[in-house]
């Protein structure tokens, strides 16, 4: 099992150029859990994730890992604890699956150390977990979207970090693959104890798969806690401006948001709650 880490943000303000997107967010990421950041478009959820994952330097405030500011930790050392899969990574032309997954070993390799047995094992294990072992020698260009995303996650897994940030890992995927990816991430969390922090678009999948939810609205953290505590019709109204009723997911028992539009309101509002 992965060790416990205390990952905290303290009054973090962040944004691009001079535009502030994140406003004084303080939070602690529950260790060894699946954490999901939710919120409407342009509410700053991706910015928050990028700031926590050190892609964006906060304008003010502090981000600490086990009490130490992450900006003070040498990047390679930090990269052995905190991994990151951004939303649109670049696929070099003609790269094979194994080569791409293998590049996740960078923080573990010395400048002229070359490949050690540990590196091979980590790559093999990552491909095994993501179920892409058979694809090892194929070119990425030949894969489907779902397979590609599994390859990218395997790259992040080969890094063998205790904490993994993922920016919308299921976007652009068919529902089948979305569920598949989230199942695989859950396996990873349950078997290895990897702390997962991700931004997800789908509120119901978030509610089902998250242990802990951070809800953002206009750059502010408005609620955080377990899905059943956080996901309420009031919160959805607040952050998405959408009327809805929240029922129990018939499969998982987690909160399930049923939106109420202007049409097709056959049984009246609140009939199911």
């Amino acid at each position: 099992m992965k060790p416990k880490h205390i990952f905290q943000a303290e009054k973090v303000v962040a944004g691009y150029d001079d535009k502030t997107v994140i406003q004084e967010i303080s939070l602690e990421i529950p260790s060894n859990k699946i954490n999901v950041i939710i919120g409407a478009n342009a509410c700053g959820k991706s910015t928050l994730l990028k700031t926590l994952a050190r892609l964006i330097k906060p304008i003010s405030g502090k981000i600490t890992l086990d009490g130490k500011a992450i900006s003070k930790v040498p990047p390679k050392q930090l990269a052995r604890i905190v991994g990151l899969l951004p939303q649109s990574p670049i696929v070099p032309e003609g790269i094979s699956v194994a080569d791409l997954v293998g590049r996740g070993r960078f923080p573990h390799q010395a400048l002229f150390g070359g490949w050690t047995k540990k590196d091979y094992e980590a790559v093999a294990e990552a491909m095994e977990i993501m179920n892409i072992t058979e694809l090892a020698n194929q070119h990425i260009d030949e894969l489907s979207g779902g397979q590609r995303q599994r390859v990218w996650i395997a790259m992040a897994l080969a890094q063998q970090t205790d904490i993994l940030f993922l920016d919308e890992p299921t976007t652009f995927l068919d529902i089948t693959y979305q569920v598949e990816i989230l199942d695989l991430l859950t396996d990873l969390n349950r078997r290895h104890g990897t702390t997962i922090v991700m931004v997800l678009h789908d509120i119901n999948l978030s509610a089902r798969y998250a242990d802990h939810i951070f809800a953002l609205n206009k750059g502010k953290l408005v609620a955080d806690g377990t899905p059943s505590r956080v996901i309420t019709s009031n919160l959805i109204k607040d952050i998405f401006g959408l009327d809805c009723t929240v029922i129990k997911d018939p499969i998982s028992g987690s909160p399930f948001v049923v939106p109420i539009g202007r049409h097709h309101v056959t049984y009246g509002t609140g009939a199911l709650s």
Partner: protein, 346 residues
């Protein structure tokens, strides 16, 4: 995870390309062939016994032996220049993450040219050492300038912005070069030969002047290879893997500028070698920088030397400068590459 299969190197290859050994052997054979070709071919063909005399009997002072000795320094110089341009191109492509980046396309060669022309016109410079210092200063300033413009605005130095900045700078600088040269016929004469790009007049002192830059450039290139592999996945992934992207770009760009600046100073602006050498190797061996960098050096050396030999044969009884030959081979290939390259999210 107890049922995990044990993987061996042969099951998958995150490092050595399958055809690496074959490619290496072929490259080595070609290298030997083009060295021999460069020694014996030219406006005065050399027989084998004459070659041996020139190489191994310093006491023999025949005309042919001296031709061979002259061609030895020329060959060594063209191998070094080709290697430097090959690595420089590979590094620039990796830094800008753009498949058509090359010292000539990013304007670095033109910047070096401008400084050399300015030096000839205003400072009366004429020695190799002066050329190299001015050309390096020009190459570096241009690189910083292009990088500076390319990093303005949102998103930092994106590959697309870098190439645009390079093209614009290159156009502006080359018009300055023309503006300095046109009214000064003496500069023209001195500069004409240099500007086309040539390795024909190389001597051993040029080579020793060049060597330190080549070595430093190669060392800086080598220490950045694995990090460049991470950078190829995007700045965000690279940062997540613990790469200091700004520092890496600086080191790799410095190496690239040292290599192409020193080459340009001594041989004149030779275009397209960086592009050709790297692309051939990427096609054959895939995108791993740990192989691309050394193999681009070898293929760059081969291509430049072959081009030089072709120039001698085609231009007979005189010769065609190597810069002309590489431009002839390079231009159509650049067009093919640019057409083939998917307009990815550069």
């Amino acid at each position: 995870m107890n049922s995990l299969p044990i993987f061996k190197k042969k099951d998958f290859s995150p490092h050595v390309p399958k055809n690496f050994v074959v490619v290496l052997v072929i490259c080595f054979i070609m290298l030997v062939l083009c060295v021999v070709g460069s020694l014996v071919l030219g406006s005065r063909p050399i027989r084998l016994d004459e070659l041996m005399n020139g190489l191994f009997h310093p006491s023999i002072d025949s005309y042919e032996a001296n031709v061979v000795r002259k061609r030895v320094s020329r060959t060594v110089f063209s191998l070094f220049c080709g290697a430097a341009l090959g690595i420089s191109g590979a590094l620039m492509q990796a830094v800008t993450r753009n498949p058509i980046a090359d010292p000539s396309i990013l304007g670095v060669n033109t910047g070096a040219s401008l400084f050399v022309v300015g030096g000839i016109a205003f400072l009366n410079i004429s020695t190799a050492n002066q050329y190299i210092l001015l050309a390096l200063a020009g190459a570096m300033l241009t690189a910083v300038f292009v990088f500076g413009i390319g990093s303005m605005g949102r998103g930092g130095a994106t590959p697309l912005k870098l190439v645009l900045a390079g093209a614009a700078t290159s156009a502006a600088l080359s018009s300055l070069v023309t503006a300095i040269m046109i009214p000064r016929s003496y500069v023209m004469d001195q500069f004409r030969f240099w500007q086309v790009g040539s390795v024909s007049s190389a001597n051993w002192s040029d080579i020793t002047t060049f060597l330190p830059f080549l070595i430093i450039g190669i060392l800086l290139g080598i220490i950045s290879t694995t990090a460049l592999n991470a950078l190829a996945l995007g700045d965000e992934v690279a940062t997540g893997l613990g790469v200091r992207t700004g520092m890496l770009r600086l080191i790799a760009a410095l190496a690239a500028v040292l290599l192409c600046g020193a080459t340009t100073a001594l041989a004149g602006p030779i275009g397209f070698i960086g592009l050709l050498a790297t692309h051939v190797m990427r096609l054959i061996m895939g995108p791993d920088m740990r192989f691309i960098i050394p193999m681009s050096a070898i293929s760059g050396a081969i291509i430049l030397t072959i081009s030089d030999v072709c120039g001698r044969l085609l231009g007979s009884p005189g010769e065609l400068e190597v810069g002309v030959v590489t431009a002839f081979i390079g231009a159509p290939i650049l067009i093919i590459l640019a057409r083939k390259a998917k307009v990815r999210s550069l």
